[in-house]
Symmetry: C2
Subunit: 98 residues, 2 copies
């Protein structure tokens, strides 16, 4: 019960983390990566969105250490970088689906 309240600084980081999950485009990108790595172009095509949009959002995910990168020739492959990602999303789904 009586959980210790984190420092304000930590709460800001926590809020920032949840902000990352608070955008449907980023959620869709993460779902795209549930099955394994994927290239930027492939993600963009599979979501029918602009390459630039995906690239911008991947940067957000990267900055927050939710995805990691691998380059292979001209293409750059992204994959999930955190075990919690799926868990956090599924926990949210539990709530949404009642």
């Amino acid at each position: 019960m009586t959980d210790k309240i984190p420092e304000l600084e930590v709460l800001f980081e926590l809020a920032d983390l949840f902000k990352v999950f608070g955008d449907s485009t980023r959620l869709r990108i993460m779902y795209t990566l549930f099955d394994g790595e994927n290239s930027v172009g492939a993600i963009a095509e599979s979501l029918s969105m602009e390459q630039s949009t995906i690239s911008h959002q991947l940067r957000v995910l990267r900055t927050n250490k939710l995805v990691k990168v691998r380059r292979d020739g001209k293409q750059i492959y992204y994959s999930l970088d955190d075990d919690h990602v799926k868990k956090i999303i599924e926990m949210g789904l539990d709530h949404v689906l009642e």
Copy 2:
């Protein structure tokens, strides 16, 4: 693994849910309620924030079914309305604290 990707509509709801967690004031309010119900004024005072700010944010939490309300005389008491709240927050903390 191969989780089924939720409908777009569900993904929007999911994003909306995470948006609620993506604000430090709301996180602080939720932490305030970890130990049990609390009145608006008490929350405002304990966070040293304006009553109006807290009230606005409590409405967001209420709308998203994360807190529930009880009136007792002049005061209105809020409490967490969902078992997932703590779990979602703690899962996020796990990531933030590495």
